[in-house]
């Protein structure tokens, strides 16, 4: 295990699917992560406190809990930018259609760029195999008990994936509308996929996810006649959390409005 960044932790597994299995740290993240040092203000308690406190002292840290993740994510973002790679963090609850969206996006690739995918799931290689079958390079990250991708996992995945310069990189997060919202992966954009079968109350129930999104894709609109899903209400609620977000209803199954998704993707 890399002692600096923790890549290759015991539980997390990174697996290539389809013949590009390498882990040569070619894409070195340098082991030079900036650490926060200095300004530890140590001051002993007054001597007349003759309890445990007299033998203890306070160290002011004032450090972000997620500093390590955020520093590594910033490093990844710089590396991606230098290589012209546009990374999109794709998040949703399980079953909203993230992988189906990616399969169709890869098969109909309108970006004029190659597409590669880092797949995050607790277990199995199923999604990476689907992506590979659709025609893109894929690496599967199995998080074990973990409920989200973090910057360390993505960094390890990139070492293995070796995406081409000027490509589009999707980071398909673990299906979960809560935890992934907190962890910066180094992406350029965050996309949240919800499906009409989940109910239109998701933005207010899971506000952190929608507050963090750049784009919301509402999938499975072909099923609208069969469910009570109020598109306008859902959009209004999402915008009450995040007025600037973009909103694109689509059907991955029948292709309705995917052009709008492809236009958005072309501008990332």
């Amino acid at each position: 295990m890399c002692a600096t960044c923790g890549c290759g932790t015991d539980e997390v597994r990174v697996t290539s699917v389809g013949g590009h299995d390498r882990h040569d740290h070619h894409r070195q993240h340098g082991h030079d992560h900036p650490h926060q040092h200095g300004h530890d203000h140590q001051h002993d308690h007054d001597d007349d406190h003759r309890s445990v406190e007299a033998r203890t002292h306070t160290i002011e840290l004032e450090t972000s809990v997620l500093a390590k993740n955020d520093e590594l994510a910033a490093h990844t973002r710089r590396w991606l930018t230098e290589h012209g790679i546009s990374a999109v963090n794709l998040m949703s609850s399980p079953g909203a259609g993230k992988t189906s969206l990616l399969e169709r996006t890869i098969r109909e690739n309108r970006t004029g760029r190659s597409i590669a995918v880092i797949e995050g799931d607790q277990e199995t290689l199923l999604d990476a195999e689907r992506i590979r079958a659709a025609g893109a390079k894929a690496v599967q990250i199995n998080t074990g008990a973990g409920c989200h991708l973090d910057a360390t996992m993505v960094s390890s995945g990139l070492d293995r994936l070796q995406p081409e310069d000027d490509s589009v990189l999707f980071l398909e997060n673990v299906g979960n509308l809560v935890c992934p919202a907190l962890f910066d992966l180094g992406e350029a954009r965050k996309v949240v996929v919800i499906s009409v079968t989940e109910g239109d109350d998701k933005p207010l129930k899971y506000p952190h996810m929608f507050a963090a999104a750049d784009l919301v894709l509402v999938n499975k609109t072909d099923l609208l006649p069969y469910v009570d899903f109020d598109l306008d209400r859902c959009e209004k609620d999402a915008r009450s959390l995040n007025p600037g977000l973009e909103w694109v209803p689509v059907s991955v199954r029948n292709g309705v409005n995917l052009d709008a998704w492809y236009r958005w993707l072309g501008a990332v």
Binding site: V52, T56, L61, T63, V65, H208
Partner: protein
């Protein structure tokens, strides 16, 4: 349950700065808009601290309210959810506090 990851990050951040000295108390600031639940974090902290120099340390969490500034009426107000709406009806609102997620200080032996 991202609180376990957060708790592990807290333990790691503190260990880096305390050079193996026993830690008796950890003070955190967890803003009410941060997306982290203090009770869940406290539960996970004991698990994450077990077997480290933080084992048995007391976790003190300060959970400040969210604060926002309305660009419409120029008023500051308290917000405890993420809905960007001022009493004046404007949604042109900027969150200025409440997303903190920080290790403030520790007490070491």
């Amino acid at each position: 349950m991202h609180e376990l990851s957060i708790a592990e990050s807290v333990v790691e951040a503190v260990r880096e700065r305390t050079a193996g000295r026993p830690v008796h108390k950890v003070r955190l600031t967890v803003g009410r808009l941060s997306g982290v639940v203090p009770e869940a974090l406290t539960f996970c902290f004991d698990l994450a601290a077990a077997g480290t120099s933080l084992e048995g340390a007391v976790l003190e969490i300060d959970a400040p309210h969210g604060r926002a500034h309305c660009r419409g009426c120029r008023r500051d107000f308290t917000m405890d959810d993420l809905i960007l709406l001022c009493d004046c009806g404007s949604a042109d609102v900027e969150v200025v506090a409440g997303r903190e997620l920080q290790v403030t200080s520790v007490e070491v032996g």
